[in-house]
Structures are given as C-alpha cells and as structure tokens.
Symmetry: D3
Subunit: 244 residues, 6 copies
C-alpha cells in the first residue's frame, strides 16, 4: 500500500497531530484537563459526586459516566445549541455512551465505593477526532479526580486498573492515515475509532465504511496505525501526569 495522499503541514500518514494536555485548566473540578489534538480542543472535567444512580444503590460499587457536548461555534459553521433545541442528537448520545463505556472498562467500581465520577467532555474547537480526544483527556481528568479522592482519604487505593486512550484512523484516497483531521474525515472512505488500554487490549472498535466497504487487509493496516498512535497517546498521558 503506497501512501499517496498529501496531508496538511507535511504530516506523515502514521503521525499524530501535536498533542497537548493541560491539567488544572479550570479551578473547581476535581479533574480539569484541556486536551488538544492539533486544532481540536476538548475540555474534560471530572466531578466527584457522593452518590450513585439508582441501579447501583446499595451495591457497594461506584459509577463512572460521561456527557459530551459541543459549543455551537466549535465547528466551521455554527450548529444548533442542543440545550435550546431541547434534546441531544443521536450522535451526541452515541459519543457520550462510548466515552462512558471506555472509562468504566479501566475502573474497579467496587474500589471506587458508592460514588460517581462525572466526566464532562465539552468541545471548544472541533477539527476531527473530538471523541478520541475526549476519551484520552477524560482519562487524565479521571486520574486527577482519583488522586483528589486519595488525598482526601475518601478511598485508600486507586480504583484505576489501567490507562485508556483512543484514536481515529481511516482510509483517504486509498491511503491509511492516523488521527484524521476534519478535511480528511470528510473525504475518507473508511473511518475507524479505536480505544485501547495501557496493556494493549481493545476496549472499543468502531469502523464504518463511508463509501465503499473495506477489506480485512485494510482493517489490519488501520489497526497497526491505531496501535502506534495509542502508544504515543499513552506516553503523553503519563508525561502529563508526571508518571513518565
């Protein structure tokens, strides 16, 4: 497979956009991370609440859940404000359910105790990959919230079992690419979001053929790219958390 598609700013097919992770971006949340994948900017806050949803009451276990939103003009053209329209779109719900599942997969809910960590992922600026940036940033915010719980002696050991990060891959004009930006995403034939743990397992895999169907060989190429990208993101997370 020969990479023929020319990416913006001479980016290599297997290169991430510059990743920046800023902790303590806002003051009040137990975790507050601005994560940037190039021009995509997502504010991920983690809020600890000392109660659980009904289905966990009395279970001794906690809960980790996520909500996702996009500021109306995060995008190239203004979108409707979901609060004004009175409901969240199917896309928004799909994304926030994905973020929630991804984070829960690395949490020991019993060790968390009967409390909830709310992860709010709000897109300040969108240039493709907002859901993968959200998952990657939400992990760092959740880690900070857990550190706060430990510092407050509300828990005695971390309920976090592993790290988790996510990246998009896709095929544009026949070329498999890592970390699609908006113009690439719009032009791609196949689009895949991959969520993996620090130990290399898959948590979520969502591949969609936009135009033509994709082959198993193409899928394998995309997963090799994703594997590389996620390793870089895990390193960025560790560095941001001072664990590197």
């Amino acid at each position: 497979m020969t990479a023929t598609f020319r990416r913006a700013e001479e980016r290599a097919a297997d290169a991430l956009r510059p990743v920046r992770i800023t902790r303590h971006y806002t003051r009040y949340a137990e975790g507050a991370v601005l994560i940037e994948f190039g021009n995509t900017k997502v504010l991920c806050t983690a809020s600890v609440e000392e109660r659980v949803p009904p289905h966990k009451k009395g279970s001794g276990e906690g809960w980790v859940t996520a909500e996702y939103g996009m500021l109306p003009r995060a995008t190239h053209t203004r979108g409707d404000r979901e609060a004004a329209r009175g409901k969240q779109s199917g896309r928004t719900q799909e994304i926030q359910r994905l973020i929630g599942r991804s984070l829960r997969c690395v949490f020991d809910l019993a060790a968390l105790g009967e409390r909830t960590i709310h992860l709010d992922c709000d897109v300040i600026q969108a240039d493709g990959g907002t859901r993968t940036a959200a998952i990657t940033g939400a992990y760092v915010a959740a880690h900070d919230a857990v550190s706060w719980l430990l510092a407050q002696s509300k828990i005695s050991r971390s309920p976090i079992k592993d790290a988790v990060a996510a990246i998009s891959v896709g095929i544009v004009e026949g070329t498999p690419l890592l970390d699609l930006e908006y113009t690439e995403d719009s032009a791609c034939d196949t689009d895949m979001n991959v969520v993996m743990t620090g130990s290399g397992g898959f948590v979520e895999l969502q591949g969609t053929a936009e135009g033509a169907a994709f082959s198993r060989a193409e899928m394998n190429a995309l997963m090799d790219l994703a594997d590389k990208g996620i390793r870089d993101l895990l390193a960025a997370q560790r560095q941001a958390l001072g664990l590197a």
Copy 2:
C-alpha cells in the same frame, strides 16, 4: 483456543440459530419481512415515499433511512414504551443510525431518484441480536420495495449495488461464539457486531469489551466466525428472495 462454553440446544460455537425469513408478512408496505434468528423476531417494513429530507432536496438523489423500536414486552421483563416516555433512548438511536448507514452503503442513491425508502425495524420478540437481524431483514424488505418500484416503472434499474447482512459474535467464558442469544450476550466479555456486503467487504464493525479488554488474536477469531455467519445469512437472503 478451546471452546468450552456449552450452548443451549447443543448449538456449535460457529453455528447460527435457525434463520427464518418471511416476506409479505403484512399487506400494505412495499416490503414487509419477518426475520427470525431463533427466538429473536423482527418485523422489517420498507415504505417508499416520493420525497426526500431537506438535505437531499434538488440533489437528484434519494435517501434510505431506518427507525428501530421494540414492543414493550418483546423482552423478558417489560420495558417502558418510548412513545409514552416521550423520547427514544440512546441505544435506540444508536441502532437505527447503524441500520440506516448499513443499508445506504449498498444503495446507489442517484439511481434511486428523489424518493425515500423508510425501513422500520420493530422487534416483536427479543432474544439477542436484534440489530443484526434488523439489518439482515431490512435488506430483504428494501429489495422487495425496489422490485415494486421497478414493477411500477418508477425506476428502470435497481439502485441496489450489493447485498448486506449482519451478525453478532462474542467471547463467553473464553469461547468465541457466533450469533449470541440473550443469555450469552449478558454473560459475554466481548461483544462485536459485524456488517458485511455480499462481496465480502466490511460495512460496520462495532466491538465492545464488556469486562476485560480483548486482544488482536481474539478479534481475529471473532471476525472469522462473523465471516462464516454472514455467508450463511447472505445465502438465506438469496433463497428467501428466490435468487438462489
């Protein structure tokens, strides 16, 4: 990997449940198919409407869209009626978006002309795999609607480019299984829905680790199973349509 999990009714790990496809299940729709995967029963109707949604107006192209619902007591315990609650759940929206994308992938929207095919997939009885049964049945209903359009001389050639079918696979107690029924789905560690075309390409791939993350080897095993299952479903579709 040794298959140790014992399935109901001596089913082999790589066996589908009995598949039944009944065309003309109701009288008025242009396509009306009851599809059964074992105890899962989904009524898929295809309705032709001579207009398109706003984003297609004047484009010369048609549209294919899907809605999904579940009768309140399709399931083991009664669920809320979404119409009474006043909104569709995130799960429902996720599924109907998946069905719509899967079907559009095999349609030449220009050849369809400026009209819409509505695919309504309503679950009469649910025992796991409702979304994959819905996609597989909706294809047959859409095919019947297209035959009706041809018979009515509203179009001169079929806009259907390829067949499409879907199946679930998963890992239960370490065993990769094809076509999960409800009790298997509830117990599984990894759950994957695979949508493929008649020519063997992937349209959608959605894998989720329910408990532990899954490895690339496990994923490959699951995709081999899915590949086999989908081939059987495509044959069942052809037979139902009298094309075999």
Copy 3:
C-alpha cells in the same frame, strides 16, 4: 331500513369479519395474544408487575392499565413513529384510556392484590376496528396473565368478574353495519364503538356523527347490531380460552 351498501367479500351487514385469536403468540409475556378481525391484527400482551402506581400504594388494591401503539407501516400509508416524534397523539391517548377503563370494569382490583397488569396493544396491521380488536384481545391476554398468577399461587382466586369485548358499528350510505373495515369507516356517517360485558351490560359507548347527526332510531339499530357482534366475540374468546 333496507341494507343497500354492498360490503367486500359479500359480507352481510350484521356479520363480523373472520375473528382469529392466537394465544402464546410471543414467549415472554404472561399473556400474549394476536387477535385478528379480518385484516386488522393487534398483538395484545399482558405483563404482571409486582407494584402499583402511586395512587394505589398501600391501598391493598391492584391496577390494570393499557398502552396502545401502531407500527408506522401498519396502515396503507406510513405514519410517523410516535417515539421519534416525542409524543403520543391525542388519538392514541384516547384509545389507550378506553382500553384501560374497559378492562378495569371487569376486574376486582382488591382480589388482584397490589400488583399491576400492563396491557400493551400494538397494531401490526390496521384495517379498521383496531381499538375494538385491542379490547377483545386484551381480555384474553389478561385472562392468561391471571391464570399464570393463579398457577404461581400469587393469588388464590381470579379477580376477573366478567368477560369484556368490543365492536364497532356504523351507518354507511344509510345502512347500519357491524364491524367496519377501513374503507367503510372512512365513508361512514356515524361511527360507534361499543364495549360490553359477558352478562350483557354496557361498559363504554362512544358514538360520533362524522357527517350528519344521527337519530335515536338509528342508534337503536346500531346497538342491536353491536349486541349481536359482541355475543359472537364473547364466544370466540371462550373458545380460544378453552372455556366453550
């Protein structure tokens, strides 16, 4: 009054369409009945829930309630899905309130104990008379649910005091007709739905002049027809339940 209107398939003015009652149509509900009045097909399930709505809490009495829905393409042309629109129409609410009142009228709520029977009536195919078919079928489903409660020793005697069934009657081109099908319903001047018990009392009576007002003599003719039709339906219920 001379019957001049010619009905489809040589049906007599005072004849029901063929009635078919299929019990155990789905697997999971405590009662699950497909009822057919000619081409009208309604799936009626009865679900037992071991709790009551707030207004019955602590009363020692149970509750019987109904919900009604129509699959989008049950009809000649596709209707909106109420769950997608986000609300039930006034017509839907009117019908489900009627079904609930009709069934409660034959129930001894104290003998039911503090539990609820939910009757879900979903129209699979609509050719007129869906609400009357729903009431007639819901009675059989409720009867099965009560048998299940007795078999489970949750109650020691049946809370069902009497049977209940319903039929439509109307005046089309001056001719009083029993059990209107869709084309007759659309053309009728007067339309009446009658709900009666096994012992011949009225439970509900809803007559509407679509065009011209109707006289007392016409009303009496309609009620004679309804009386005959309901007797036939009660017999069909008894036969389906093996009580004949």
Copy 4:
C-alpha cells in the same frame, strides 16, 4: 325507577343547574362567552384566523378547532399547570377533540371559506360538566364570530347549519340524574355526555360505566333526561343570542 338520591339545593333529578350565558365577556375576541352551569364557569372565546391548517390548504374549505384548559385552581385542590409540566394530559386532549368535532358537525366548512375559527375553552371554576358547558358556550361564541364575519363582509351567508349543545347525565345510587355536579360525578356508577343539535340529532354520545355495567333500559332513561336538558340549553342559547 324511583329517584331516591337527594340532590343539593333541592334540585330535581331532571333539572339543570342555573345556566348563565354572558356574551362579550372579554374585549378582543370575535366571540367571548362566559358560560355558567351552576358553579362551573367556562370562558369560551372564538378567534378568527385568516388561514387554515395544512390539510385544508387549497381546499376552499375552512376549519373549526378547539383547545381546552383549566386554570390550576379552578378545582377544589390545585392541579398542575399543563404549560409548566410541558404537556397536555390525555383527558385534556380527549375533551378538546370532542369540542372540535361537536362544533364542526354544525358548520358548513365550504361556506366558512379558507379561514379558521379557534375555540378556546378555559375553565375558570370547575364543579362538574366542564366539557358540556364548554361545547354549549363555544357554540354561542362561534355564532358571535360568524356574525362578525358577516358584518365585516368576509362571508355573505352564515356557515352555521344548526345549533349544538351538550349535557352530562348519570346514574347515582340507582337514580338517573341530569347535569351532574362534581360530588355527583364522583359518586356515579354511569356517566354519559350527550351532544345534540338543534334539530334533535345526536352528534356525540360518550357513556362510561364507572363501577357496574349499565343496561339498555338505564341508557334509555339517561337519554330521555339528556334530551330534555339539551332542549333547555338550546333555548338558553337562543335567548342569549337574542334569537328567542
């Protein structure tokens, strides 16, 4: 049948409560009538709008429609405000649909021309019979709106074909009663709302057995009462309109 139930204020079983009809109760509406059935007070306004709903566009015909509401403290204990709750109850929708059908039955929509008469019936004080008072008052308001249309030369002849009025009847402790007030309505076994035209035909008939089913003889007794009551209401309407 012997009347044994003692009514408040020595009212006879076949007597209406005092009926008062006040025209021009508010200033701006084309028709604005306060109607009182004893302590029940409903403000009925008729508003002319020079357009029709989509299903009447281009038909040359007009439309007559009704909305019903109850002030939160019209009743003995305060009820929720429907606007605050965000939806109209099933009961409200049922009533406003009944009012609309009843009034349309006496209108020649072609003679009305492509315009809409909106009838807003708002209950200021509720002591039983609000829907029948609403229909009876709405007719007077509609009549005033039609007079306004004639005076404005927007139409050249009245589209009103006949008068229409409504009353409730019911059986309380075995006694058939005319025009139930709230305490009677709460205690009744059978409750029937009857809508009739000036020429004595039925427009709507809605009978409900609250407790035990009712017999044909009881129904006939109720309809005799209703017939008498409606005659009195028609006279009151004519007098209010200066037509007596």
Copy 5:
C-alpha cells in the same frame, strides 16, 4: 420636561388607570382575586399546600412561588397556548420568577412553616402591565390565604412582613408616563417595571431601553412616577382588604 403625549381618555401622565380589586372571585382557592388595571384583568389565586419543594424540606421554612399564564385570546390577536406547544416561553418564565421573588421578599418564610403558597396569575384580558397587576393582585390573594391559615389555626401569627405592589412606567415620545397601556407600551422608548414595599423600599427594578438608551435624569423622573403610582396601589390593596 414637558408632557406632550396625549393619552387615551384624557388620562394624566402621572395617573393610574382605574384599579379594581375583587376578592373571592372564585370559590375554591384560599385566596382568589381579580385585579383590573383598566382593561388589563388578571386572576390571582393563592393555594396553600402542606408541603415544600425539595430545597426547603426539613428546613422549618415554607415557600412562596408563582406561575403566570395568559389565556390564548387575552390579547388583541390570538397567541399560542403554551400547554399545547409543550413549553412556557422565556417571557412567561421571566415574569413568574419576578412575581415569586417579589412576594417572597415580604414573607417571613420561617413564620409560614413548612408549607407552600402557590400564586397562580392568569391573564384573562391583556392591555399592558399584566406583570405589575399580577404582583399587586397576588399580594391581596396571598393576604387572604394567610388569613385563612390564621383562621384555621395552622399558624399563630402572620408571616407577611410588609405589603408589596408593582407598576410600570415608561417614556413615550419623550414623555414619562405612569402605568402604560398596550399601545403606549408598544410605542415606548424606555420601559421600567418597579416593585416596591409598603414601607417604600425597592424590591425589583427592571428598566429596558427599547430604542435609545435612557439617561439618569430620565430614570429619576420615572422613579418619581412609580413611587406615586405604587402609593396609590398600596392604598387600593388596603381598601380591598378592609384595612384602610
């Protein structure tokens, strides 16, 4: 500043429209006041409920809250019914929040005890100043509800600390005017609603420049007018309550 604008019916710039306060306008509410500012008529009911909203539970304090509505044809042209549209407008919410705050300001919530007074202000006829009439009338209704609580010995001393009334002022064609009616309100450059207590303090002040911004001098002129008008309203309240 010279008053050049000619008001309807020779009204002076600093004159209120005729104020009428009718207590016991309806039968069931603990307070029920029809207040009229000229052609503006608002029905204000006060309903006592023996419980408080969640944020006051267990506090020992009560709550005073308000809801506002407008009958669809209270206005010159018919407006949508908010209950039918499924939500209250921003304007409605703004007004009912204002009424609630204004009344709470003169209530000693601890002396009220753990109960709620609901103030429902429904506009029967609107000719400008509905929110100020609502506040002024709601005070009288609340006073009656408190008298009822005292008479019922549910409380031993009145929780009302002071009277409260409200009026609008505005600048029309350069002339500062008291108590704007609808045509003045539509034409005004500046519109201010002033809420004051019996002892002369401000509770709420809401000034809006409709066209050009207004100066401090203009604001002072408006507040002088408001001060005079409120004094007259306080006198009218006292007289209506038999306290004058």
Copy 6:
C-alpha cells in the same frame, strides 16, 4: 456610607476584578473572545449567518441574537447539563434574552442587512458576574464579526452605533460594592446588573432585593459605582480592539 466589608485580595469597594479580553480565542467564528472578570471566564463567539428569523424576512433588516450556556462544572459544584435535561432553565433564558436586547440596542439593524449575528456566550468558569462579562465580551466579538463583514465587502459601513458593556453592583453587609464575585453575590442584600452604552446611557437596569428592600439612596450609590465600572470596561474593550 462607610465601606466595612473586607473583599478578597484587598480589593477596593469600587474596583473591578482584573479584566482580560482575548480575541481570536478559537479559529472558526467570525468573532471569538474569551473575557475574564477575575475567575469568571466566558467564551463569546459571534457567528454570521446569511439569513434572518421569520419576523425579519423581507424587512431589509438584520437581527442580533444571543444564547447563553454554562459548562456543567464551570461552577463550584456540578450542575445539570441543560441539553441532557432537555430544556434551558428560566435563568438561562432570562440571561440570553438580556444579552440579546443589550446588543441589539447598539446595532443599526437596517445597516446590518438581512443577516443574523448569533452571539454564543458559554461560561467556562463561573465566579459571579457571568451575564455582565458575557455582554461585555459579546460586544467585542460582535465588533470583530462586523470587521469581518466589512473586510468581505458584505457591508459598506458598520452597523454598530455605540459600544455597550455591563457590570454588577450590590450591597453586602451594608457596603455598596462593584463587580461582585460569587461569595459576595451569595451574601448580598441587593444585586443590580447595569448595562450602559459608550455614550453613558442606560440600556438595561435590573435590581433585585435578595433580603431587605433597598432605598433610593442605596440605588443611587450603586449606580455611581456601576457608572465608574462601566467606564473602565469600555476602556478595556477599546484597548482590546486596538481603538484606544
């Protein structure tokens, strides 16, 4: 009046918190301003849309409108996400209506032409004064959007007639203070939001007595403070826009 209340960080009673205005904070909007009043941070974007709402169609005039939102964890404790709850609160609607009116007051809508400027004010971090920061920042964003329109030659002269800015003032423990932060706002007796133009006129004035009513003298003291604060904000706006 002696200032006795001690403010955080030795702030004087008549001092603003540090004001920072960052233009071009995001990439895609025609105007994108982050405004900070101390710890309060609001992102204000201005989006140009080449169409107007229905009430302006064909008028030759444009429209300026605003929406307001708060990220769930902008505050000390997490608030509900309005999009998830399915509606905007009364407070949110009140604020966005205020922002819209304030900005329209300085716009010549005819000079804008038939297009809309959407002002989205999203609170990233909230420490009191979010609505006044939003108005002050929205003006700068709107100015940038107008410069873009001029640069694109879509308009030939600026429709902005004057600058506009807003500040809160209040009385805390008897001391009149400028620019309340959250803890002051929670403790204040009187809270007033003042919106003024560059030429010193009032656009909006909203004063609320939280506890005790306030006197005319207090109001005058507050307006003197507001006047000073707004002058400082106008200077900050000019400096940010390079007009100083």
